[in-house]
């Protein structure tokens, strides 16, 4: 009898052979068993040994491979239950390119389900672009609830509001929040929230199965400032207080902690849920947003992310 080392060596050899015959030559395990002169079960064990010993290496030769890999790493690193990475197109002017498409695909998938779903939606350029990409659908079984107010500071309808076009497109009952995104005062916000219609809406938001939201940065071109929801001086003050990002208007710092006082006292959006309560899916990309996205994920403010390759790589760096 050959000594142990030879046994295990020739065993690995056989495993390699079996793995080759299986994966490269496309034999069935029965055929391999016959060719190697062992039982079918042993052949199966050899094949799985070849895999567990990493003798067989599989690679995917397609641009998507990198994206899937990044998604897996993001899920692992930040404890996400969902991550979708789309290929980057460096230098492309469209800030929602790809991400909007992927978001639309996710929305569509959930809406296509016959199971009644309560869908919370935020606002922003990415969501708006995603909704535009949605096909017409017929989803009376779902409910779509707005997570933010829909009135801009000047009293007009907020431009990047999406609930109406979404509800219209998929023919689902919708529950908008007819109040300012950021109220004039904490007291005003409280009063507004006590209205019967709004209370019901907020309750619906709490019950929602999934939220789709955008994430904004608080750099010099912060969407919150660009769209006029906060003034220049408010933005400066928020930056000074350590704010790095914003979701539904809720401003948070590098640890994902809500910045106390200031605008957060007046934000009329639905309160952010704990990670367990609902599935919060954020869609955002771009170099400027890396810190904001990272902070939200570290704190567990989001359970799912849709972004692009480049942003994902920076998040992992």
């Amino acid at each position: 009898m050959p000594p142990r080392q030879d046994t295990s060596r020739s065993k690995l050899d056989d495993a390699a052979r079996a793995g080759w015959l299986y994966y490269v030559a496309g034999n069935t395990q029965d055929e391999i068993a016959a060719k190697l002169g062992v039982s079918r079960q042993s052949a199966q064990r050899l094949v799985s040994l070849a895999i567990s010993e990493k003798l067989i290496k599989v690679r995917l030769d397609h641009p998507i491979a990198a994206c899937l890999e990044l998604a897996a790493r993001l899920k692992d690193r930040f404890g996400l239950s969902f991550a979708e990475i789309v290929p980057s197109d460096p230098g492309h002017p469209d800030t929602t390119l790809g991400v909007a498409d992927a978001t639309a695909a996710q929305l569509e998938r959930r809406l296509a389900s016959p199971e009644p779903t309560i869908l919370g939606v935020g606002t922003g350029r990415t969501l708006k672009a995603a909704v535009e990409l949605l096909p017409e659908m017929d989803c009376p079984q779902h409910k779509i609830v707005s997570l933010t107010g829909n009135i801009a500071p000047d009293g007009s309808a907020a431009f990047y509001n999406v609930i109406f076009s979404l509800a219209d497109k998929v023919k689902a009952p919708s529950f908008p929040m007819p109040l300012p995104v950021i109220a004039a005062s904490e007291r005003e916000k409280t009063l507004l929230h006590q209205q019967v219609g709004i209370e019901k809406n907020l309750a619906l938001a709490r019950e929602a199965d999934v939220w789709f939201v955008g994430i904004g940065d608080l750099g010099p071109n912060a969407p919150l400032y660009e769209d006029g929801f906060v003034t220049r001086s408010e933005l400066k003050a928020l930056q000074k207080a350590g704010a790095v990002g914003e979701m539904l208007g809720w401003v948070y710092d590098a640890q994902g902690q809500l910045v106390a006082g200031m605008t957060n006292e007046r934000v009329a959006s639905a309160p952010l849920p704990s990670a367990e309560t609902a599935m919060v899916i954020a869609a955002a990309r771009g170099r400027d947003k890396v810190e904001a996205i990272g902070a939200a994920m570290r704190r567990g403010l989001v359970g799912g992310l849709i972004t692009d390759e480049d942003t994902a790589a920076r998040l992992l760096a």
Copy 2:
């Protein structure tokens, strides 16, 4: 509505995704179906599409003892500087199985080098299959030169020509030989070779660092005959003159000596180099080719061989 190209593109993307989830992430097809939002059957189709489209590449990373030993003995016996033996799969119909994979791996290795290389390539089923297995690469530093003409006897492009697809896949400058594989007469061949472009090409072939070629036998199913490069009567005459094999169209006898006169006078391929000049790597397997491979090795026409276990054993017998 997205145009056809987008449809088929996103289909391949999905196939890649499915393949990745299946082979890399170890999902079942049911899980993939759920994640991709398609039926189980569709998921199965995507996975098999990923395979049939060669998106998924499997390689065996284990020196199988028996193959290694055969390789060592071949190198020793025939003075080769390189030999790679892949496991045999007796009775498998694919005549390039395994050998093509190994050839692709060798090609990839050399192309991956940043060092500028001149690569001479022949033709044939094995090389064609190998090129198909290559991943997309970006190798502007290398030059790929064809060692044979690329025009079939009927005037069409020779089917097993590989230089274009290879150059395309690895994005390297290529130097094809736009002339018949076997000219009508010695005089025509000489004239063709005197064309400026062809002369440069032949010079490049002489300078090449490595050649990758196939080997054909001259039995009743000789590739040279099957592909229409020689007539039935020419084949008979060659056989009568002792021809046993062929490389780039150059016909040789059991001692590896070129058969004088006949088709060899009209072959438009680059002249075979002496063993020292360039590294000639032949890829071939099969019982029919044993004598042809052996003759080429004995004469030193090849310095490297890629074949399978069974062929290697017969070569040593």
